[in-house]
């Protein structure tokens, strides 16, 4: 992994097309640093660079599941955590677009809502 590739992985954190943006939102909401995020996903920090450079899966359920599985098996990360990170990020961005609020609190709200809906389902 070269410095240039690592720099590009960081650069695309602001680009909604890339998984980097979802992982950044998730790490922010969960208050995770680089190592914490890698640990949560079950991979090395080096693998995180490759993950960030993947594209964010289409939210259509069939495609979403297939692509999350593809990424998870290719990079040997926890598919559940990956799916959660992407959904959390999507929810946050949707709320941000709706309210026009750029507040970090939205991430917390999205996480709480996500946890509530998981609780209701179980």
């Amino acid at each position: 992994m070269t410095d240039r590739i690592a720099a590009l992985a960081r650069r695309v954190e602001g680009d909604d097309l890339f998984l980097a943006s979802a992982l950044a939102d998730y790490a922010h909401a969960e208050d995770l640093d680089e190592r914490g995020l890698a640990q949560r996903l079950g991979c090395s920090t080096k693998t995180l660079v490759s993950l960030r450079l993947c594209l964010k899966p289409d939210p259509k359920p069939v495609v979403f599941r297939r692509e999350v599985d593809r990424i998870a098996s290719r990079f040997e990360v926890d598919a559940g955590v990956l799916a959660e990170a992407i959904r959390l990020s999507d929810a946050t961005r949707a709320m941000r677009d709706k309210t026009g609020v750029e507040d970090g609190g939205l991430l917390m709200a999205a996480r709480d809502r996500h946890e509530d809906s998981e609780g209701e389902g179980s």
Binding site: R4, I5, L51, C54, V63, I71
Partner: protein, 234 residues
Amino acid sequence: MNERRPNSATRMYQICYEVQNALSVMSHHGEEGRNLRARLLAGDTTASNDVVAAYLDGLADWLEKLYPQEHPNDCSTAAADAVLAFIRSPATYDPEKQTLEKYLRMSADGDMRNLLRSERRHMKRRVNLELAEPSVENQLRDEEADPAHILERRIDEAETDAKLRSLMPDWLAAGLVPEEIQVLGLMRIKERRTTVYAAALGISHLPFKEQQKQVKRAKDRLNKRMERMASQDD
């Protein structure tokens, strides 16, 4: 002593072997590009990572060789821009026409030119703003303008000169060539970029490392001059 030379059949065999190898490498590259494009178009989310891993470094290295006078960070940025553009719109690449490597090189070269153009515009604006050089346009207008305007502009220019002088003491500016005064002005406004100093010194055409060397030499010389003058003052 007679040297053993390969006969013509052996030589021909060697040439065929080398051509075959070269074609195989080219076809491998062509296949790789075609394959990555197909994966991106099919929505394979891991393909983008593979494009970056396969092409980014090679592309940036190529740009560094093509633009030895520019900062390596600019080469990396232009290479990354080209790779990202392909990831966003893979259909714009036609594998029937060229290899992906060649396509990306053309794209990166264009991005590099745009980047340099906008940097130079920015640099020029900054140097003009900070050092407020009288513009050629103003000088050309002199002959046509009425005396009141000429006087007004002369006052502006005098203020500009005063601003420039305020960046450095008179005793320091005395004896310096205009390029050195500009460098001194840039040092005073804490400019850090080598390319800006290189523009002031008129050495932008040189390789970046050479620019660094000459800019350092000019700054060292001016620093020593300042130290020497200051100690004389004491």
